[in-house]
């Protein structure tokens, strides 16, 4: 009987892991149907997509570049979701992070990299954390559900940036208002390139993933966050300062999301513009969920999705399929993952004693 229980436990974990794999495959199958519906040639499109994502050294480097911000936003979503804080403000925090980094970097046009680099990164973290901090305070002080505050803040930040870039103080001088962008940052503020298009941001992202893993699984503060997600009431009865844990968790999440905007600005685009930031936050939520709310899974899925979005460019050129296929694909995969993990959980409850 002892062994029987063990086996069930193990097999349910296996089944859970399999459910993620199956869900991703189902997502690909559904995408094939989507392609068929829009009368594209499925095999040409998929071939171009995969070649563009992982087909050459350069493609892989580009994939990693696209994965970098997703790793950050994925970790940002992971941290709050593990604590069952339903913040979906990563989108706005990415914008705020890019704004923070731009503000710092553009204020120090003549400083060397060693000065402006760390400060701009700090600016990005501060920008993101400010947004999530507002939501945390609204929750702790005024009992505002973070779902609403973060959604509303997302819209508010987008409008704020839109004003800053067209009509506001950051509008590029001498251009028409229609460009909606700032001038390029000075060279010293750019993140160093590692190889080809790959910039140093990926190193920060991997380091962040390892840190988040250690934080959650090994430290007493991580215990607080996981306990908050598992049973907030028990935590309160044990005399833990729940509002403080909420605040710390959300600040961390906001800083991580802010980094996504920061590295994208400093490593790739070098000028502030809304369109390349669009969707990174929501993409991160999908990455975290499909990655099973675990750092390693999040990194893996971010690389997969990063590959898809960089391969999508090749796909568009070769088969004419719009690169927004990736967003559709991500949404579909997420839905299959939700179904798959729920079904796997059922197996679990059935097999364990009631």
């Amino acid at each position: 009987m002892h062994i029987k229980l063990e086996q069930r436990h193990a097999s349910s974990l296996l089944w859970q892991g399999m459910s993620y794999g199956l869900a991703i495959m189902a997502g690909f199958a559904a995408t094939a149907v989507l392609l068929k519906l829009s009368s594209a040639d499925v095999s040409t499109a998929f071939a171009a997509l995969l070649r563009g994502a992982f087909g050459s050294q350069r493609a892989i480097l580009r994939t990693l570049v696209d994965a970098t911000p997703l790793i950050f936003t994925g970790l940002a979503a992971l941290v709050v979701f593990r604590a069952r804080i339903w913040s979906i403000g990563q989108e706005g925090q990415v914008y705020a992070g890019a704004m923070g980094a731009y503000w710092v970097a553009s204020s120090l046009p003549d400083a060397p990299l060693l000065v402006v680099g760390p400060l701009a990164i700090a600016g990005a973290m501060l920008g993101g954390a400010t947004m999530s901090g507002i939501a945390a305070v609204l929750r702790n002080r005024y009992e505002v559900n973070e779902i609403f505050s973060t959604v509303m803040l997302n819209y508010i930040v987008v409008y704020l940036l839109s004003w800053l870039l067209s009509g506001g103080p950051w509008t590029e001088a001498g251009t028409t208002v229609a460009y909606h962008q700032t001038p390029l940052l000075a060279q010293p503020a750019w993140l160093p390139q590692l190889s080809g298009p790959l910039h140093a941001g990926i190193l920060f992202a991997i380091a962040a993933a390892i840190s988040v893993h250690l934080l959650l699984e090994r430290t007493s503060s991580g215990y607080d966050m996981r306990a908050l997600g598992a049973n907030q009431t028990a935590l309160r009865f044990m005399g833990m300062d729940v509002p403080r844990i909420v605040l710390v968790t959300m600040l961390l999440s906001g800083a991580l999301a802010g980094l996504a905007g920061g590295v994208e600005l400093l490593g790739v685009q070098h000028r502030l513009k809304a369109d390349y930031l669009f969707g990174l936050g929501y993409g991160g939520i999908i990455v975290a969920m499909v990655g099973g709310l675990r750092p390693a899974g999040t990194v893996a899925v971010a690389i997969l999705f990063g590959g898809l979005s960089s391969g999508a460019v090749d796909m568009r050129i070769q088969s004419g399929v719009p690169d927004s296929l990736i967003q559709a694909m991500q949404g579909t995969i997420l839905l299959f993952v939700l179904c798959g993990t729920a079904l796997a959980r059922y197996r679990l409850t059935w097999s364990s004693a009631k």
Binding site: Y142, V144, F148, V151, S324, G331, T332, L338, A342
Partner: protein, 310 residues
């Protein structure tokens, strides 16, 4: 002279408020029924977007309003079924379900839209016309504001007393209200909890889809990605602000609509604030409204909890 001008602005402002309120109200009445049945659907945003997109694409292809509305409602109902399947049958957290619906809708509409307009000019079209009510629309100010609107606007406002009567005067309405408070009360009486929650969810989504279609065909000349722009979320907030009561929810919807109307009229009114910041106003106010509703509003006790017999 300036008096006449001011009156014209006022009429335009208020008429726009009523028009802007229409999609929100349709959706809010639908979601009210859904939430009273205990299903906390936060996929309203994605469902509304889907309705708007379906209306757009079907109208662009067929040129027929009725077909476009029907397609929008049908697509939204599909999302409703998925929502109910996840949150009722699979008992996925309602928030996670809604999040999934929103992201799916956002991705799919974007892709289909880009595929549809690929390599050609984006079709634009006139929005559906108003149907003035004879005699009543001739009343100064009130006439053009209330009685020179589109058919669906009249329907949306007529829906409020209908939903009220349904919830408070019919047997099914009583069962749904009981469901949102304590599903076990129905289950132990042999009433099917899941079937009622499916129906309530699909109804809510259908109304939201209809609202989305009106958003598109009622006052937009073209589709843009994320056309719904947070209106679905405002609906969810309006339910909280209105304490899940049809009349108070309607008031909350009108408040949001008035703010949006002010933002779009900012130049005519002569406001010195940049219009982008005015457009952000409803979102700021909605947070303030939640703060003020604290303690005054009491949600259905079992809202957002998946029911399992224990």
């Amino acid at each position: 002279m300036s008096g006449l001008f001011q009156q014209a602005i006022l009429v335009s402002l208020l008429a726009a408020t009523i028009r802007i309120a229409t999609p929100l109200l349709l959706s809010a009445m639908g979601e009210l029924v859904t939430q009273r049945a205990g299903i906390w659907n936060v996929g309203v945003e994605g469902t509304m977007l889907t309705g708007a997109f379906m209306a757009y694409i079907v109208y662009a292809v067929t040129g027929d309003h009725a077909t476009a509305f029907a397609a929008a409602v049908a697509a939204a109902m599909v999302l409703g079924v998925i929502t109910a399947f996840l949150s009722v049958t699979l008992r996925v957290d309602h928030f996670i379900t809604g999040l999934g619906i929103n992201l799916l809708a956002s991705g799919l509409t974007l892709f289909w839209f880009r595929s549809f307009v690929k390599g050609k000019a984006q079709p634009t079209f006139d929005s559906i016309g108003t149907v003035p009510v004879s005699y009543l629309s001739d009343i100064p100010v009130v006439g053009p504001v209330l009685f020179d609107q589109r058919l669906l606007t009249y329907a949306a406002f007529a829906l409020v007393p209908v939903v009220w009567a349904f919830l408070y005067r019919t047997r099914t309405g009583l069962e749904l209200r009981a469901l949102g408070e304590n599903p076990a009360a129905l289950d132990t009486m042999g009433l099917n909890v899941a079937a009622r929650q499916y129906a309530a969810t699909v109804f809510g989504s259908a109304m939201t889809g209809l609202g989305g279609a009106f958003l598109m065909l009622g006052f937009s000349d073209r589709f843009v990605p994320e056309l719904s722009a947070g209106r679905g979320w405002l609906v969810v907030v309006a339910l909280i602000a209105g304490n899940w009561h049809p009349l108070r929810v309607t008031l909350a919807v009108l408040a949001f609509s008035f703010l949006e109307s002010v933002a779009t009229h900012s130049q005519a009114i002569g406001a010195a604030v940049p219009y982008q910041l005015l457009l952000a106003l409803p979102y700021v106010i909605s947070i303030a409204i939640i703060v003020m509703a604290k303690g005054k509003s009491r949600q259905p006790a079992a809202l957002g909890e998946s029911y399992a017999r224990s």
